[in-house]
């Protein structure tokens, strides 16, 4: 029996680093649970993320497969690792502001965050279904727990339970899909499926129908995770009930990771049957955009509104998804990167403004905020503008890329619907700004002091949002390269 080659471990180094730091936090979480020392956990987690990011460069220096071709380091993996770990780093920073404010500061939060990131890392890096499933479960379970982190709050626990039950329900479908795909192809390795072609199974019989059924089942699971319609029903409730910061995390990390999995599964393994599943994606894209945007129109709770918004955003990503080819994949990746930055940014402001027990998450609580706290208002506005898709922001360039890819694939109807949806969506984002700047405040709400981690986090989100909007070239090239590697 051979020793496992060192490169294998280098290829999963970020995950290892994160796990180690998570363990470290678990170990010291006991002694440093409360008071100022609790902050140590946060910084530890943040440092862990930074080191993990550094480890990504190590990972990048060793492209190739690892562990019986279960894990693959290519640009696609790297791209998503960067996005996901950076997102976690920002969330960690925010948590250092948010948790003390909420009286929730405990080290386990950071550990769970890091573990969730480990799971997501495996999701995006694995090219084998079982591994993907385990990664998915790690991140899901960690997220379930994070949702219920405010465990004395009935909303938080209800959200946690809803997410857990429905999530497991959807995961079961996903797993069933894996089983059928395994039965049809005799393998669970995605690239092997792509190589052998799914039409011919080892027994020499074509199982195209089974493959399609498996594709559908897997889409149910993944669609649930990315909150694509018609599997989006849980999103508003869970987003509303979960602690705001966790909502921010959920809307970004797991969603991006699930999309990455979907890319690997559908673009690589199931590419032969794309003519069929294309229409499924197409319909889901339209449904997600319309249901998300329409649902958001009349919301009064900003978290809930952003939940619907995130459904719609998933719809835009699905538009790019439907474009197929390297262009579609890179548009998905780019949009995800932009989306993660702007959405976490928005939730950063929201979670800071929420105050203890999240008292201020209704739109009316935002009245007059823009002028009383100009920088806070400005940041939130920029993130919302990015979500609308106003030029110079990452959201705009992401949308531009998405629509361009869709048009390139001659998806004219889909693009037009998406364009109209993005105009419709402007309404509810703008509504927030109406409250921020145009309505007089009803009650003077004080703002907790802005801590350094908060500023750092918001500034980096802002920076990335603008960077992707104004100088997207590097990110764009990276996304294109990743997409190309994904498909080869």
């Amino acid at each position: 029996m051979n020793l496992v080659p060192t490169e294998f471990y280098l290829r999963i180094l970020p995950e290892i680093v994160l796990s180690v730091f998570a363990l470290l936090i678990m170990v010291i979480a006991g002694p440093a649970r409360h008071g100022s020392r609790a902050r140590v956990n946060g910084w530890l987690a943040f440092i862990g993320c930074l080191i993990a990011l550094a480890a990504v460069t190590v990972q990048a220096a060793h492209p190739g497969d690892a562990f019986s071709s279960m894990f693959r380091v290519d640009d696609f993996t790297i791209f998503l690792h960067v996005v996901l770990i950076a997102a976690t780093a920002v969330i960690v920073l925010l948590a250092m502001d948010y948790l003390p404010q909420q009286g929730l500061e405990r080290g386990e939060f950071y550990a769970l965050l890091l573990f969730a990131t480990v799971g997501m890392g495996f999701m995006v890096g694995s090219v084998e279904l079982i591994m993907i499933f385990i990664g998915l479960e790690i991140s899901s379970i960690a997220t379930y727990v994070l949702c219920g982190y405010r465990r004395h709050n009935s909303h938080s626990t209800e959200a946690s339970l809803k997410y857990f039950l429905l999530g497991s329900f959807a995961t079961a479908f996903f797993l069933y899909g894996i089983a059928l795909l395994y039965g049809a192809s005799g393998t669970t390795n995605l690239y092997q499926m792509a190589n052998q072609g799914l039409h011919i199974s080892p027994d020499g019989i074509s199982h195209a129908g089974l493959v399609l059924a498996a594709a559908g089942l897997m889409f149910i699971g993944l669609g649930f995770k990315v909150s694509a319609a018609p599997f989006q029903m849980w999103t508003p409730d869970v987003y509303e009930g979960a602690p705001a910061l966790v909502t921010g995390f959920m809307s970004a990390g797991p969603k991006a990771a699930a999309f990455a999995v979907a890319l690997r599964v559908f673009y690589v393994a199931l590419q032969d049957s794309s003519a069929t599943w294309f229409w499924m994606i197409w319909a889901a894209a339209i449904l997600s955009m319309c249901l998300g945007n329409l649902g958001a129109l009349r919301q009064t709770n900003i978290k809930r509104m952003l939940a619907y918004s995130s459904i719609a955003q998933a719809g835009y990503v699905l538009v790019a998804f439907a474009a197929l080819g390297a262009q579609g994949a890179s548009a998905v990746l780019f949009y995800l990167a932009a989306y993660v930055a702007m959405n976490i940014g928005a939730f950063a402001v929201i979670s800071h403004w929420a105050h203890r027990e999240e008292r201020y998450v209704e739109l009316k609580d935002y009245a007059g905020l823009g002028f009383r706290f100009p920088w806070l208002g400005f940041c939130l506005s920029i993130f919302l503008f990015s979500l609308i898709g106003v030029p110079l922001t990452g959201g705009f360039f992401g949308k531009l890329y998405v629509f361009q890819a869709a048009l390139h694939a001659h998806l004219i109807g889909l693009t037009v619907i998406a364009l109209l949806n993005s105009a419709l969506a402007a309404y509810y984002y703008l509504r927030v700004m109406v409250y921020l700047y145009m309505r007089p405040q009803e009650q003077p709400i004080e703002c907790a002091p802005f801590t350094a981690p908060l500023w750092l986090a918001v500034a980096s989100c802002l920076g990335v949002t603008f960077w992707l909007g104004i100088f997207p070239t590097r990110a764009l090239d990276f996304a294109v390269k990743s997409a190309q590697q994904l498909l080869h």
């Binding site: 002028f371 629509f403 693009t415």
Partner: protein, 515 residues
């Protein structure tokens, strides 16, 4: 000088942004106002460089600057000016100065934010006119949207929220379709560069089917038509105008609306001549409806600002007719009318704003006999109203006349009918404006609260004098403006002329006239 010629456009666009930075640094409302004034004035003076160094004989773009930006999409930062954009840009910088001046006292809360948005708006508007890259164009197009919506929403009047949101959404709905078309063009050509695309479109490289071309045309057109606004896309305008602060109304009417016809001339006519020709009939009819309809509805408005807003619908209808009958004279007239409308209607809104500052109502029935207490105001009022009515020797007439004449003598079908219907606008235009005059400054000074109104102060007199003199100058010296645009206009209308002979004859300026 050479360096300046190559970068002047960028300086003009981005000087307001520098102003924003400066605004962020200064403290105190007075200093903020001064800073805004200094930067808008500097931008105005800088923009005057353009007409002075513009080569009138050259129809293409001048002061070009081109910097690679996003190579993956072949996006460049390409800016430049031609006859179409030249004066519109100067109009923008000019009205921005006035915008600051009229906001001097009327804006009392959040002064800094107000001027920041105003400068941002100026930057956006200039960018729209100067961009020669479709991506850049769309970018600036949207950039104008945001500050305007905020200007309305924050500093507006009673129903400002509704108006701001409506303005934003309506415009957004149009512009997203334009974005789709821009991307389509990109997919065809692999570039966002306007000049390249135009050249390739003209050479028939893409083999577009008429249907496709029409869809592309419409995608651009609807965005622009909403901006114009062309009947029946106009209903956001009365709301937006009524609720906007004076400076907002001035810039909205003066510049933002012009982005519509500008876009049509630049993109619809420039890129899709066949579709333009095919759709022209309908558009002209809508424009004609707008002329008369806007005037009639303005006639019965009880709210002064709505009245002026509907007058814009009417005036912009003229421009639409001028643009879509494809005659050299009519198009030149349309370009001129854009400038005229900017100055005159801007002036009208300033007039309304000055009354509002004193009485805090737009209700026409609250006024009457103002001339008694505000004679100077009344003088300017009459002057600017007359410019809007189209009194010869003031600016309005030249544009309207050229449009009507160009339309009447155009080579399109039913040109005579178009011209005659447009001329009806001359009658109805006088109707509502004089009606307004009669009920505002004339009549008995019945309302006791009007008896104590103060006449204009020096600042206000300065603002209105500037406008009045400009209306006079533009009324008598149109060749000064139009000679610089004619070469470009000739290029724009060139594909629409039926016979080469007619078109070349149209370009020959008859020097011997009257000698």
């Amino acid at each position: 000088m050479d360096f300046l010629n190559h970068t002047i456009v960028s300086w003009t666009i981005f000087l307001p942004l520098l102003g924003i930075v400066a605004l962020l640094l200064v403290r105190g409302e007075k200093q903020e106002r001064m800073t805004a004034l200094i930067f808008t004035t500097a931008t105005f003076l800088l923009s005057l460089h353009l007409p002075f160094h513009f080569n009138s004989a050259e129809g293409g773009f001048q002061f070009l600057q081109r910097i690679p930006w996003i190579p993956a999409f072949d996006i460049h930062y390409t800016v430049g000016a031609d006859g179409l954009s030249l004066w519109l840009a100067v109009l923008t910088t000019f009205l921005s100065v006035l915008g600051v001046l009229v906001s001097w006292k009327s804006i009392k809360k959040n002064v800094k934010a107000f001027f920041i948005l105003l400068l941002l708006l100026e930057c956006g508007m200039l960018g729209v006119f100067f961009s020669l890259d479709l991506f850049l164009f769309y970018l600036f197009w949207e950039v104008t949207l945001v500050p305007m919506a905020f200007l309305i929403g924050i500093w507006g009047h009673e129903r400002r929220l509704y108006a701001a949101v409506k303005f934003f959404l309506y415009t957004m709905a149009g512009s997203v379709l334009m974005l789709g078309c821009i991307l389509w063009l990109y997919n065809l050509s692999g570039t966002f560069d306007y000049m390249t695309i135009r050249q390739q479109m003209a050479s028939g490289l893409y083999h577009l089917s008429p249907g496709t071309e029409m869809w592309l045309f419409l995608g651009f057109f609807i965005a622009f038509a909403i901006k114009v606004p062309l009947f029946p896309f106009h209903t956001w305008l009365p709301d937006a105008h009524t609720e906007a602060p004076t400076a907002g109304s001035v810039l909205l009417a003066g510049v933002l609306l012009k982005m519509g016809p500008y876009g049509m001339l630049r993109f619809d006519l420039g890129l899709f001549p066949n579709a333009s020709r095919a759709a022209a009939g309908w558009i002209v009819v809508l424009g004609l409806i707008g002329i008369i309809y806007g005037a009639l509805v303005a006639f019965v408005q009880p709210n002064m600002k709505k009245l002026v807003a509907y007058s814009s619908v009417s005036h912009m209808g003229f421009i639409m007719v001028g643009v879509f009958t494809f005659s050299l004279i009519g198009t030149q007239g349309a370009i001129y009318q854009m400038l005229n409308h900017g100055v005159s209607t801007g002036g009208l809104f300033i007039l309304v704003g000055m009354l509002y500052e004193r009485r805090h109502t737009f209700d026409l029935s609250e006024y009457g006999g103002i001339a008694k207490v505000m004679p100077i105001y009344a003088g300017f009022f009459i002057w600017i109203v007359m410019s809007s009515v189209g009194l010869p020797l003031l600016n309005g007439f030249v544009g309207e006349f050229m449009i009507m004449l160009g339309t009447f003598t155009a080579t399109v079908a039913h040109a005579h009918v178009y011209g005659m219907v447009a001329a009806v606008g001359v009658i109805v235009g006088a109707m509502y404006l004089l009606h307004w005059t009669r009920h505002t400054i004339w009549g008995e000074l019945a309302n006791a609260r009007n008896k104590v109104l103060q006449d204009l102060d020096r600042r206000e007199i300065f603002v209105l004098t500037t406008i009045a003199l400009l209306t006079l100058f533009m009324g008598v010296a149109s060749p000064y403006f139009l000679n610089k645009t004619s070469a470009t206009t000739a290029q724009v209308v060139q594909p629409f002329q039926p016979h080469p002979a007619v078109q070349s004859a149209g370009l020959v300026v008859r020097q011997g006239a009257g000698q």
